[in-house]
Amino acid sequence: MIITVASGKGGTGKTTIATSLARALVDLEQEVSFLDCDVEAPNAHLFLQPEFQHSKNVDILIPNVDIERCTACGRCAEICQYHAIVVLGQKTLVFPELCHGCGSCTLECPENAITEIPDKLGLLEAGLTPDGIRFARGLLDVGEPMAVPVIHQLKKWQSLQNTGISIWDSPPGTSCPVVESIRGADYLLLVTEPTPFGLHDLKLAAQLATELDIPAGVVINRDGIGDNQVETFCQQMDIPILMRIPFDREIGAGIAQGKALIDIRPAYKSRLQEMFVQIRDRVTLNV
């Protein structure tokens, strides 16, 4: 079973919840894995402290034009949705930084003048944490704008060995990398804060859950700091509020020192386990 932890708004506590949830589940489940899908700024390793043992490059395949064969017919430029290949006079130019690696130009070239060559986008790393969690993360190279292929390959790489419960820590927002981090999950756990900002982005994230047809529940973090509009919204939309974490300066101070929520406030361990049981029942029994 896969649970994606997402939020819409950044800084609501996705990684705080995701990492402590994974650790709390070690007692309940035989196999727990964790994917840090926030490949532009992965930081879950700070809390889970894995020892990385394996790594793999993430490449996309970009076109390489054989100028001997190319007749500059322009079919590749016509088919490319990203304008990554253009034909000017007798020259065919490739702009690797615009290429999404879809392969259409290679398929469509009537002269078979295009071959594909790998171009590195990022890195995948995996290893075990001291608690025995199988941890893996993606790392997008600095300056690369496309996170989706890295997340996609991270999921593929890990699904080969994953049978138990998997927690996927999503990036913030509701754009393509978030969609990729949710696609394939059985449940979407939305961490929010009870503020107009939290609500604004929660609405977008909840819409995403509806679009992707994935059951969702909400964790209200820093409960008590804002207003009750998040609660009203959840009631209207029939989204269960699974947990509330009151605003607590000690938690903030502990997180700032790199401590996990369940180490700062051990009582959350059983609360996270209870929340998981609720999620599991929703997913497996549809109740």
Binding site: H83, L93, P96, E97, L98, G143, E144, P145
Partner: protein, 122 residues
């Protein structure tokens, strides 16, 4: 000789547009016939890769010269490959800018003059 000037509207008395790939219109002046034609830029609203797409489009009009405000790296590479000379202007109407060019006040650029606007930024 054909000259293309990036513009915000399809008239020569309208403002020059300093953006190359996302200019609204390309105004083409043919110095032999002294006639103007206006072309809407199909790349103006592209989600990415507007520069190369714009070059591909104007290359089909066979200009020798293009005048804009700045050129990103991808656009410049494509202009070079197409053999189109790139000049820089600041402001004015399209006909002002043509006047500045014909008076020899504008300079040709030999490299990209603006940052990459999109893509993988390398």
């Amino acid at each position: 000789m054909k000259i293309i000037i990036t513009a915000s509207s399809n008239t020569i008395e309208g403002p020059f547009n300093p953006r190359f790939g996302r200019a609204d219109y390309f105004m083409l002046y043919d110095s032999d016939s002294q006639e103007w034609s206006a072309f809407q830029n199909p790349a103006a609203g592209a989600s990415g890769g507007a520069g190369p797409q714009a070059v591909q489009f104007i290359a089909g009009k066979n200009p020798e010269i293009v005048i804009s405000g700045r050129y990103g790296p991808s656009a410049f590479t494509a202009l070079e490959a197409a053999g189109i000379k790139a000049y820089i202007a600041n402001a004015g109407t399209v006909s002002d800018v043509l006047g500045q060019f014909l008076d020899g006040q504008l300079t040709q650029v030999g490299a990209a003059t603006g940052p990459s606007m999109h893509g993988r930024g390398r």
